[in-house]
């Protein structure tokens, strides 16, 4: 077996590229899931893929992890093409899907041991590796528990341990925090930060923005199969300056909210959506724009209960970058 040398990728800015994606296209029938997507993941970094459901995050991750063949475009994982050299890529990549594949009747230790064996690890190596991983994800006391009996958070941690059985350099984690309670989410973040400290490259996706803000070195915002913006969180913040998000609660049911959406769009909002009784709007300009919108809503006879500028952070950034970029 040859050791795999991470290759200097031409497109990355000086740093060694863990993943380079160029012009990735994938169609499912008539649906264009990924539309000329470009992505850079420098080695040793934590990169967040942010986008709503159906944005193409999972498809992109599947292509990186050799699980599907793209219709067009090129991918390099440490210099290897997942399509042409799947074994090399599989050896280097640990993949955690947005579901937990359960083998009933296996204990946690056996579950990990099975996957370690599937990666061709010798029995002696497996024994110590399984012990280490259970300790890392804090499941040592669940060692001999049936995997079916684990809580969602524990399953998620065991799933993370599974992606690590062959000591991969790159972790591809698809929505790892979805469905976790806050406590479990913090535990997961701790483990991921520890892995990042150990030098693992991590590509992580989410549609819940808050959980990625603090731990990502870089963020790529994906919608409709394209990366709309990527860079460090600071860079993206700077790019989104000059817009304001507001939310308003409107009385009068869905019709009133729809009317409010129309009013906001007519009034020059970059984007406006109704969600339940609440209107979310993205405006060009600062506080003046927000005040103008309120005046318009009230002027249109809508009954506004509350009106507030939304707390910024990544969520606002996301809204502004995704839909501001389209219109």
């Amino acid at each position: 077996m040859t050791t795999v040398e991470p290759e200097q990728a031409p497109a990355a800015s000086g740093a060694v590229a863990a993943v380079v994606v160029r012009g990735l296209v994938k169609r499912y029938g008539r649906l264009l899931a990924v539309d000329h997507l470009d992505l850079d993941v420098p080695a040793g970094s934590v990169v967040g893929l942010i986008g709503p459901n159906g944005a193409g995050k999972t498809t992109t991750m599947s292509a990186i992890t050799t699980l599907l063949t793209p219709d067009a475009g090129r991918i390099k994982v440490f210099g290897h093409d997942p399509d042409l050299e799947p074994r090399e890529v599989r050896r280097l990549v640990g993949w955690m899907p947005d579901f937990f594949g359960l083998y009933e009747g296996l204990t946690c230790a056996e579950y990990l041991d099975f996957f370690a064996a599937a990666y061709g690890l010798a029995a002696t190596v497996r024994r110590s590796r399984v012990g280490d991983l259970l300790e890392l994800v804090d499941l040592t006391d669940k060692r001999d528990t049936d995997v079916a009996g684990l809580s969602r958070g524990m399953q998620q941690r065991l799933g993370l341990a599974r992606t690590l059985v062959h000591d991969p350099s790159l972790l591809v984690l698809d929505e790892p925090a979805s469905g976790l309670d806050p406590r479990a989410r913090i535990d997961l973040r701790e483990i991921l930060l520890e892995l990042a400290r150990q030098g693992k490259t991590i590509l992580i996706s989410s549609h819940i923005l808050a959980e990625l803000g603090e731990m990502c070195d870089r963020v790529a915002i994906v919608q409709h199969g394209r990366v709309l913006a990527q860079g460090t969180p600071d860079e993206l913040k700077a790019a989104s300056r000059g817009t304001t998000s507001v939310q308003a609660r409107i009385l009068g049911g869905p019709d009133a909210v729809q009317r409010a959406v129309a009013v906001a769009l007519d009034g020059g909002a970059l984007q406006a959506v109704g969600q339940g009784p609440t209107l979310f709007a993205e405006l060009t300009g600062g506080e003046d724009a927000a005040a103008d919108l309120l005046a318009l809503l009230v002027g249109a006879g809508l009954r506004v209960v509350s009106f507030a500028e939304r707390d910024g952070g990544l969520e606002r950034l996301f809204l502004s970058v995704t839909d501001g970029g389209r219109s």
Binding site: D38, T69, D71, D81, D83, P97, G101, G105, F114, F115
Partner: protein, 391 residues
């Protein structure tokens, strides 16, 4: 030492930790045991009816023994076809349903390794089913009427057929999304192979009979697992009823075998008439019994194959040797077995192909959005270096 296929190991652990396998095995043996007991009673009753009451059990032993062992083979195959395919049919679609299939595919296990692991588990299960039935033949072993070769050939045949069907089940399992669909399709296939071939054969026989007098063995029967089994255990006897054999299901099926595969009629007649054939020394004197029917000078029978194994137990088996026949014509059981092996291989091939995730690049560039310009080199594979920038 080479490591055990991890998929196989996991399947075995999972199977034997669940309650399903032991329960299935117990039920299977209970049903088979009950059938064997019934067959024994039926056999004795038929012998009584044929020869009158007070038949000497020892002299009729081999006839009863053969009846029992043919019944055992028939019902083991029937039950294995009932219990076996479901397991295989659930294996790949089951992984898909549990969402573990992609987790396996992303490891270094190749599609073939996954499929072979699954097949290995099916082989272990089916071999267990067949071998667990052996003790139920104990009564028949004691009565005799068949040779060790019959047993071994029948056993190997059973396992091969069962494994081949399991391999087809794996292929079907790899094609379906849901386990229920896979199981329905697999049992549908088994039914077609068992009953569909009978139906086709009947149609063929009738069709041929209307055209000429000679009706050869219908072609479709060569796909019927029971038909091959009848040949494998030498169940074919011409006019068996008149000759004194008992009508086992396999014996009935054997009637359709090509004539060359039939056990010699004269030998059967001689055996039942109680003639001592060519003075084969009978080792245990006290077992010698009076002939059932006084015979009227049958022609001396020459035993064609002197190197056959000795009969199992009963001394009367020395003059009742239904396994003996001038081996002529191509062995039907071998043909059936080969056909099944081919179909099983096809199943494995399908499963292996379906488990492959990354298609060869050439197919991708053919389906890629823009058609390649004539004369231009193939876009992706030919220039692996030129991928940096998409326009």
């Amino acid at each position: 030492m080479r490591a055990v296929n991890p998929v196989l190991r996991r399947e075995l652990v999972e199977r034997w930790r669940s309650r399903r396998a032991p329960v299935t095995l117990t039920l299977y043996l209970a049903v088979l045991g009950a059938i064997m007991y019934l067959l024994y009673r039926v056999g004795v009753a038929m012998l009584d009816a044929q020869f009158g009451f007070g038949v000497d059990a020892a002299s009729a032993g081999p006839v009863l023994g053969r009846f029992l062992i043919e019944g055992l083979f028939f019902f083991v195959l029937l039950l294995v076809l009932f219990v076996g395919p479901g397991y295989a049919a659930a294996q790949i679609s089951g992984e898909r349903e549990r969402r573990t299939l992609t987790l396996l595919q992303v490891t270094l296990l190749g599609p073939l390794q996954i499929v072979l692991g699954k097949l290995g588990a099916a082989v272990a299960w089916l071999t267990l089913l067949v071998t667990a039935a052996v003790p139920l033949g104990a009564a028949a072993f004691f009565l005799g009427g068949f040779g060790l070769v019959d047993l071994l050939r029948g056993g190997v045949y059973l396992i091969v057929i069962a494994v081949a069907i399991a391999a087809m089940g794996l292929g079907i399992s790899s094609l379906t999304k849901r386990t229920t669909g896979s199981i329905v399709l697999t049992y549908g296939l088994v039914l077609t192979l068992v009953l569909g071939t009978f139906f086709l054969s009947a149609v063929e026989a009738v069709f041929r009979a209307t055209r000429n007098a000679h009706v050869p063995t219908p072609v479709a029967l060569y796909l019927n697992p029971f038909f091959g089994l009848a040949d494998a255990v030498n169940a074919a006897r011409p006019m068996f009823f008149e000759a004194g054999g008992l009508p086992s299901p396999l014996g009935l099926l054997g009637q359709a075998l090509p004539e060359a595969r039939m056990v010699d009629e004269a030998m059967m007649g001689g055996a039942i008439a109680g003639e001592v054939v060519e003075a084969v020394p009978v080792p245990v004197e006290e077992f010698e019994s009076a002939p059932l029917v006084p015979g009227e000078e049958p022609p001396p029978v020459v035993i064609a194959e002197p190197d056959l194994p000795p009969p199992m137990v009963a001394p009367d088996a020395e003059n009742f040797r239904p396994g003996v026949r001038p081996d002529a014509g191509p062995p039907v059981w071998l043909i059936v077995m080969l056909l099944y092996l081919l179909m099983g291989l096809l199943g494995l091939l399908v499963a292996t192909r379906r488990l492959r995730v990354t298609e060869p690049r050439s197919r991708v560039s053919a389906t890629a959005g823009s058609p390649p310009r004539p004369g231009a080199p193939a876009p992706a594979a030919a220039e692996p270096g030129r991928w940096e920038r998409a326009p």
